[in-house]
Amino acid sequence: MKRFDLLRAIPPLKWLVSQRWFQFAVVVPNLLFFLFFLVAGVWGSPVGNRNIIIVFVWIFWWFLLISLMVPFASRIWCAVCPFPFFGEWAQRRALIGSRSVDPRKKKPGGSGVVVGKNRYFGLNRKWPKSLSNIWIQNIGFLALCTFSAHFLTRPIVSVIVLGSLFLIATVLHLVYRQRAFCNYVCPVSGFLSLYAMSSTLEVRSREADVCKKCKDKGCLAGNEKGWGCPWSQYPSTMTRNNYCGLCMECVKTCPHDNMSVFLRPFFSDQFLKGYDEAWKAFIMLTLAFAYSIIYIGPWGSLKDWANLAESGQWRGFLYYALALWFSALVLIPGIYWCAVRLGRALGGSTSATPRDIFLAFVYPLVPLGLLAWIAFSLPLMLINGSYVISVISDPLGWGWNLFGTAHIAWTPVVPHWTPYLQAPLVLLGLYLALKTGLSHAEHLFQDTPRAAVKAFAPTAGLLTGFAAFLLKLYLA
């Protein structure tokens, strides 16, 4: 796979990410914005489009995240996320430096717990192995999205949701090692892990042989230059973006200057490792369908069902919630499993296990799902982006006019073109899904090319059906 070494090509960038203060410098401004948003949510206007927490988080940030940050910069958001700030500070008792332990001492003294060659504080428990997957994130994200109509429009509810995540992150950092919250609990992290596979950016080792001969293992265990990978990854052998938070600790700690940041083609990571990741793909696709139907569809009754607090329709909300959860966890995975099973039967003999085939054929939902989400998010920004401009001048809806833009009226941008912008995105997602799926099929069913096509055909049909459904929603 072709890749371009950014740190070698741009020495100032290498210098920047190698500084201990780099992480602090990029996170603190974000932390201050976050605190300001919480203030706005509590004390500002209850009107969603006049309050910065709604406009900036659920319109602006969401659009930037799914459409630009993830496809082009992997989990760059995790590198600047404010959620773990205070917890990690308490865990490390350091904002900038690192606490390393002299490995020559047989019994390192001092308080705290030694993990690798770093010293941490708090309880530092190991995250339970049975929960070392993204199932908590899957269920958490689905639960949040079930109530999304409430926190997407009501500032105080956004404060409760985001503030709770902030508190949970802080507490978990004091109980468990490193970034257990980010790895296993954060709902945002769940879908970032899946779609980061699409990104053009990666952190990897330059030469595998150098890592094999390395005795320091600073990237994993830490050393005097920095912390061991907070994401509990082994950077030198990392082959996917899923769980790399781009914190650059491994770039700092590597004694051989063998870790770097690379540019690479889209969708270079092409395999799912477990059923938790597969179900994440199902959940995200289902939510793309559901959100497209509820938020930009014409069915007012469905909007009322989702918007329980205003409509008061408990029965409708129950129908909506049950349909959402059943579709995400059972129906769509079940249909998909049937398609894969049929394909296995059609494809003939293969040495691949049913699990490998299933995971390989679920992977196409990554490009399709990501492009579906971009297609859903695009009109959010086009239609509501003008609120971003006005709310900058009056972030709390108190009647300020800081930059003279507070009175700019709501101005949807090319609303009549929206379907024609969404459709190519969905078609691109379908093309990438079919291309990667067929590639996987050819790898798994190597007898003849026809066997691969036969094996993938039912899944391809299903993927095409999904895309057609989205096109029908957007164009009809």
Binding site: W21, F24, V28, L31, L32, L35, F36, V39, A40, G41, V42, W43, G44, S45, P46, V47, N49, R50, N51, W89, A94, L95, I96, G97, S98, R99, R154, P155, I156, V159, A309, E310, S311, G312, S390, V391, D394, P395, L396, G397, W398, G399, W400, A406, H407
Partner: protein, 178 residues
């Protein structure tokens, strides 16, 4: 690890956090000298309850508090500046008896209405834009008194009008959704 740098970073972070939290309130309450004999009254329109209220309405209490209708009393010879805010939808404030054109009140914006109180009396204000179920109840009075006057001298024509919503203790606006 360099302790002075860590301490500086910690102090700077905490100071910045406190500053960010306090800043909006400092800006909002920045002192502005008012001319003599000027009253500035802030009224917030709450459509769901059909009231204009002098109480603070924010993103937290909007959903759960029953707001008291404004009870405004000023003296003759004063300049009254009404700062009008909407907590939800578009409204318009009108004083038919004072001959003042309706002033639009849009969410997130502060509209101002200025008038002089030359003659004592009780003047009705009302919402001039259909704003919801409780629109017809969105009215009130401003009482203008000479020195020595008592409120009883100017009966309230709206005193017997039922409020649009009688919220029970513990109820929220969502309890009365359709």
């Amino acid at each position: 690890m360099k302790k002075p740098m860590e301490a500086a970073a910690a102090l700077a972070t905490l100071a910045a956090c406190v500053a960010v939290i306090a800043l909006p309130f400092c800006l909002q309450h920045a002192a502005v000298a008012e001319p003599a004999r000027t009253r500035v009254i802030t009224l917030t329109a709450v459509a769901a309850q059909g009231v204009w209220t002098e109480e603070e309405v924010n993103g937290t209490n909007y959903w759960c508090k029953k707001f008291a209708p404004a009870a405004i009393t000023v003296s003759t010879g004063e300049t009254v500046i009404l700062r009008l805010i909407s907590a939800d939808v578009e409204h318009a404030m009108s004083f038919p008896e004072l001959g003042i054109e309706p002033v639009e009140v849009k969410p997130g914006q502060v509209s101002e209405l200025v008038f002089h109180t030359d003659t004592a009396g009780r003047y009705i204000f009302l919402c001039a834009t259909k704003c919801g179920h409780c629109h017809d109840a969105m009215s009130g009075t401003i009482l203008v008194l000479n020195d020595g006057d008592t409120p009883g001298m100017y009966p309230d024509p709206l005193a017997d009008i039922e409020p649009c919503m009688m919220m029970n203790e513990g109820d929220s606006i969502g309890s009365y959704a359709r």
